[in-house]
Symmetry: C2
Subunit: 73 residues, 2 copies
């Protein structure tokens, strides 16, 4: 299995915070996988914006605009 950057413990807490009584282990893994995929998409878009602005550093404003772009697709 591919190693994920996002760990499963916070995914379990997110589901509990959302009101769930119980969460299967597979569900926490799936949520980690999904958020990691979305996160990488956003980071790649953010990097494009940073480079376009002549920077080598991703800034918060790059993440903001990249998020809007990824979520509107």
């Amino acid at each position: 299995m591919i190693e994920l950057e996002i760990s499963v413990a916070p995914m379990h807490r997110l589901c509990k915070n959302a009101g769930a009584d119980r969460v299967s282990e597979e569900a926490t893994k799936e949520l980690a996988k999904v958020l990691e995929t979305i996160g990488i998409k956003i980071a790649k878009e953010a990097l494009d914006y940073a480079v376009h602005a002549g920077r080598k550093t991703i800034k918060a404003e790059d993440i903001e605009i990249a998020t809007r772009k990824v979520m509107e697709k």
Copy 2:
């Protein structure tokens, strides 16, 4: 500041994996915030599907269908 479940260290690694040389601290916090918001949305939708199926446990299949719904909006 609101305490997030998702920590910033994996967000930094996600950005590095996406090809970034450098990532500002504010950018990693913004990415954590964004993914946490999306994660909670997905978890809430997943809980609705679980309850609708007569379960108290969120399963991987609930996360899958909830993700499609949240990302298509």
